[in-house]
Symmetry: C5
Subunit: 366 residues, 5 copies
Amino acid sequence: MVIKPTRRHRNSHNQRRRVKPGTPPGTIAPDPNAQATKIRVMAYSPAAIHETDIQNVDQLKPLLQHWPVTWIDVTGLGTAQTIQELGQLFQLHPLAMEDVVNVHQRAKLETYTDHLFIVSRMCNPEDDVRTEQISLFLRQGVLLTFQERPGDCWNPVRERLRQARGRIRNSSVDYLAYTLMDAIVDSYFPMVDSLSDRLDQLDDEVTARADNSQMHRVHDLRGQLLALRRAIRPHREMINELTREDVALISPETRVFFRDCYDHVIQVIDLVDTYRELTADVRDFYMSSVSNRMNEIMKVLTIIATIFMPLSFIAGVYGMNFNPNIPWNMPELNLPFGYPLALLAMVATALAFLWYFKRKGWIFTN
Amino acid sequence: MVIKPTRRHRNSHNQRRRVKPGTPPGTIAPDPNAQATKIRVMAYSPAAIHETDIQNVDQLKPLLQHWPVTWIDVTGLGTAQTIQELGQLFQLHPLAMEDVVNVHQRAKLETYTDHLFIVSRMCNPEDDVRTEQISLFLRQGVLLTFQERPGDCWNPVRERLRQARGRIRNSSVDYLAYTLMDAIVDSYFPMVDSLSDRLDQLDDEVTARADNSQMHRVHDLRGQLLALRRAIRPHREMINELTREDVALISPETRVFFRDCYDHVIQVIDLVDTYRELTADVRDFYMSSVSNRMNEIMKVLTIIATIFMPLSFIAGVYGMNFNPNIPWNMPELNLPFGYPLALLAMVATALAFLWYFKRKGWIFTN
Amino acid sequence: MVIKPTRRHRNSHNQRRRVKPGTPPGTIAPDPNAQATKIRVMAYSPAAIHETDIQNVDQLKPLLQHWPVTWIDVTGLGTAQTIQELGQLFQLHPLAMEDVVNVHQRAKLETYTDHLFIVSRMCNPEDDVRTEQISLFLRQGVLLTFQERPGDCWNPVRERLRQARGRIRNSSVDYLAYTLMDAIVDSYFPMVDSLSDRLDQLDDEVTARADNSQMHRVHDLRGQLLALRRAIRPHREMINELTREDVALISPETRVFFRDCYDHVIQVIDLVDTYRELTADVRDFYMSSVSNRMNEIMKVLTIIATIFMPLSFIAGVYGMNFNPNIPWNMPELNLPFGYPLALLAMVATALAFLWYFKRKGWIFTN
Amino acid sequence: MVIKPTRRHRNSHNQRRRVKPGTPPGTIAPDPNAQATKIRVMAYSPAAIHETDIQNVDQLKPLLQHWPVTWIDVTGLGTAQTIQELGQLFQLHPLAMEDVVNVHQRAKLETYTDHLFIVSRMCNPEDDVRTEQISLFLRQGVLLTFQERPGDCWNPVRERLRQARGRIRNSSVDYLAYTLMDAIVDSYFPMVDSLSDRLDQLDDEVTARADNSQMHRVHDLRGQLLALRRAIRPHREMINELTREDVALISPETRVFFRDCYDHVIQVIDLVDTYRELTADVRDFYMSSVSNRMNEIMKVLTIIATIFMPLSFIAGVYGMNFNPNIPWNMPELNLPFGYPLALLAMVATALAFLWYFKRKGWIFTN
Amino acid sequence: MVIKPTRRHRNSHNQRRRVKPGTPPGTIAPDPNAQATKIRVMAYSPAAIHETDIQNVDQLKPLLQHWPVTWIDVTGLGTAQTIQELGQLFQLHPLAMEDVVNVHQRAKLETYTDHLFIVSRMCNPEDDVRTEQISLFLRQGVLLTFQERPGDCWNPVRERLRQARGRIRNSSVDYLAYTLMDAIVDSYFPMVDSLSDRLDQLDDEVTARADNSQMHRVHDLRGQLLALRRAIRPHREMINELTREDVALISPETRVFFRDCYDHVIQVIDLVDTYRELTADVRDFYMSSVSNRMNEIMKVLTIIATIFMPLSFIAGVYGMNFNPNIPWNMPELNLPFGYPLALLAMVATALAFLWYFKRKGWIFTN
């Protein structure tokens, strides 16, 4: 198993603000590395659907007048002018437009007189820790979405629109907004499942045998779960606000669907919190396994040292060169059976220690 | 004692969503492994009871008209068509029907204009960690329950219905709903008791002698308690909502009973939280026992090494082969009583170290 | 000091429910081991007091009519019939009666139209961890109390009643209820004091010298504090509800007294929480002492081994049997002063290591 | 640095209740060790001040009638009769009077119809952990304060009264109450500063070199911070209540001052909580330093043992006494250059191990 | 990398109160080390701007009458008289003026009848842990700011005023207040980014190789994050209060901007909390790496000792000097091939231990 580099998820904790301090609020200053802005429009009525890429913001006006629901899907935040023109066309608040291009926002809902501004964060299955900021503006008949990069979790929604499956083509724009938010929230489940699989495998491995790389992986998992928690947690309050009765742009029928979406957010948060607790448990288990291993190693060392040190000492005594001709000096050396007796003494000493260790429960136990 | 495999409870943290992302909301897509759907009906009045298995949803209509209370008990969520027909017959919300078959929901209450939708999770004594999702729809005169598998904790309720024990046959359908919820909540007690027994035994074993397998079991217990907490905790809010006065379908008399049920939920949560704290205490105790053991092992090693190393050194010195004929070279070897004096020096050294260890409190103390 | 067996307090976390699952709610099924029920009545007016043991519930009626305040003190929950008759006499709710005999309840207050039902838990000085459930029914002019066993903390109250000390005989029944609740809450103080004494002693012992039994006792104390916290904590909300203005049976004068009682509960909870934090501190301190001890042991081992291993090696070299007659073979053995020089080399080596250890700060420091 | 005895602060967690269980509420039973009660009166108007010690409660009446503001400062709680007479003179509630002499109360505010009862705890700079209970009764024109012992933090206030500095003499009695409360809250700052100094010094010492006494001091500091937190925390709610608009005895002008006092309480709590987190950090840092030390010791031991054990073994081999006259028996002993070659082999072995340790990074690194 | 001295950030936890206890409230007693007070005025209308340094508070009056918005920027809190005159000119509350010079306040908002008093704390990029207190008084048409030292984060704002960029010159004084508060909150981001960089580097280093200095740095980082959290956290409530509708001096348009500022505060708090959790993770990871290293060291020691101790013992046995002429005494020494057989026995012993270690998984594994 390849261990994920830890640097990626750490950076995800702090998408740096690029706004130069002191810039007047509401300035749209895209990240110089941001991708060029592309606009794709899906406009539909129960009977028909029109899908087109547009180059110029002015092309939008006829579409808006003709179709009951228009979804303007903006990808790439690099072209300041296009974004500014969109903001002016729909009379969006400059602070909201600034938040669109500063892709470090927490999920939030802001209510303006004639539109809602929703910031959310999407999980990208290909980038397992950085989440992508999605901004939505919901107005009567128009949904404007901004995403950082091409590639999102909305293709099934687009397919449903094209094939007129379910009630989506017959519903108004707030139902489309719900459908997209639901897809965003559901994009967390595959990520959480993948972390869960890695955690399960890690738990099995630690149970089988603790080794050094596991601690790296626990550390890594904890960092990723922390990043995920930071991304998903603000959605709770945001979607909860959307289910309140005083939000004018959300119809009562759609409100029921947002309540379901809220349940999913709670479920993701609950899973992420549970997994963070589980990683803590795995870490504690790992530490105790390491302690146990150390204990076992020390036991082997102690047993060997404790048996052989006295034996070596006895051997050492009879290796001394005291002059045997002087009385009292090492008479054992000339004893008949001196050598076998010495060996016997050694065996007895070793057996005594073994008996002591057995009584202590250090050996011959499981 | 067999150690439970840890994989089972870990999986229980995340019953995976099977809904393909992008599916329109309200689609009923049962798990392909789900059991075929069976319907059992108990319809009763104070005077009589009628119990039958039905094959066809149409058979329900005459029963509903005839009996004041009908309990439609659906087991197995594998037959999408039957479930869909039930939803249409009672005009249930598609999102609720979707939740019925996606058996990963947290406990919750949803209020619709003419019915309540309750999701709950039952503890199965035979499957000690996975909980089973139970969905209930409560309408005037009808209670519709969905469970994943045959086998539940409701047989005593059925028996009371048949024998007309207590007030159950004389009460309306909300009392039946209470009785079933009460049985579900009470199904947690045997599980909690069994975990408590295992925790007690573990505590006793750790107190007697810490060994490696105990840490596995603490780790396992903690995982199971976490899973149990996730299952029971959302019941608190759900049942609390049922005791509020503005729930039209619950009569004031039954509300008192739900308050009692609420007390039981609080009690289960309190026990689970207490046991999780206790497992943390046991784990800390285990770790300190391991540390103490290590200390003891190190003490033995140190005592032996510290005594025998100097002794071996003395023996080594007198085993050197310096030519004794050269003056100043090892005159001790030719001393009268040299050997006994050397042995005496050794004994004195050993005693000196023993005295030092005794003063340090390393030996001859408890 | 005798170490308390840990089994007792652990069991106290889970007084097992004896109700067979599926029993109709409100069934009075006393624990088969419960003591036989005895009823003692104290009825009083400002002028007189009448104290009697009664055998039959019917004997109560004349007393109730005659005396302004009657305290019916029921001890032992083993006689189902007597308890049932009391419930019927005072028209108590069956669920409340069921709670009376299932002695595993958390403290709570339940308000019925004409009576209050209070569940509380009393600390028994003779049983240092299990708390005893006390149930009180407060009606106009009547206080009904149920306790599990003979022996309680109410004898001083009885004495005050008999001797008409203080305002108790001149007050109505709610003041009697307060007096009893106050005695129950105050029964926690001696227990908390005793745990505090044990904690103080433990802290002193750990400070003096960490040994293995202390960890057992910390573990034990933590378990007891957890049990105590579980018992006292629900009293906070319960007594707080009693001080609210909308409780009809409590007069405004008595409400002031309940506020004082509430302060005592807060104080007990505060002490128990503080002691749990202190035990955690003691445990951490213990663990660090054990680590320090280990360090000291390892230092001794390392110093001895590091000094004597090189010395023994030198001695070993000069114990080799190379043929001294072959040139270049061990000429030192025939050197004049070879032996003293070898000894000097050994002393120098030892001093070098001692100097190294001193520089490292391992020896000759406190 | 003298290490403070730990017993003192531990006792401060539990000022034991001396009330005999069962005593009627409102009984004034002073601690037998309490000091005799002394009364000092400061009565003032904007124009004049009258300061006197009185012996008899009756002497108060003329003063109360003459002066617009009277501060009755009672020191020592040992004379039950005097305290009782004061309570009767001002018609104070018996429960409040009982709290005055039971000096174990948490800070609180109680509102009676014509007076406020405030309990607070003062930090005594001479007694660094036990706090002293201060009780205040605030009535129209009269402030009654009770303290346990002579010596308090109010001398600067008295001086300001005598010298008519600031607005104190021109303000009514609620401003005096604020001034005293402010002095009490500010009495915590020197204590917190002293603990902060000790913590800073400890942190520096641990950074320089971890030794065993530091852990004692961390443990001690944690206990003292816990005691301080218990004392100050209830002041938050108490003073917050004093700033509410519905407290009749506090004028709107003085309310602004109490808001400032509230800010100070928040600041003390914030500091105490921060220091408790810092002590935890210092403890973790200490533990890691100890672990690191152990690692270093083990490394030295391992290096020495690993180098000298093989060397001693080689020396031991050539010290064997196999009969060199038998062929194949230790021909090395008779080799020319056998001895230098053996020494060379030893040096090579030692170098090999040193190279291994260097590669492992155990030596020649910082 | 230079390790920051820990003393600096620790002191920042407790900016000591310099007010002598007992001083009447509202006394302006600047810190004797405070810098002399300088006043710089920027007065502007949409059409023009006037910037000047003034020496005398009286010079302000004509400016205030002439210009619609006047920003009086006071730097240095050392000249008590100037500050007092400013307070009198604008009729500011004495307690607020006292807070201005006691630079240890937590961020807060106080509402007076005709002005707001805001206390905030600014992050100084040159002083990486101490934050500087900024006090703002907002009145109709006048903004009065006090800072401790020259140097702040407001130069871009001044530049925007001079160049009339954005809407700042066309807006009223509340927008200026917002702009300054926004700059203060944004001053935390560079600090947080720098701590994040240090944390990332530390994480990488610990992952590569745990060494002793890292623990110092983790300890240091934790202290700085704690200090930062203390500084920023009270801003949440303060700015939240500014966004409420009942604050008269903030216009609805500016309120939207303060909501944006509130989002930034939440983001800083979220980052600081996340980093504190991450430092805890890094610390745990460090500790586990140290444990693993210890394990590895112990393994090497044990392997070497366990192999060579038995070998040395065998060599020691054959080095004994038992008289070979006595029968049974060491006949091996005279055996043909005795020496090679002994060597073979040694090799066999060593191989046996190596096999044992391999089976244990101690060697020849990753």
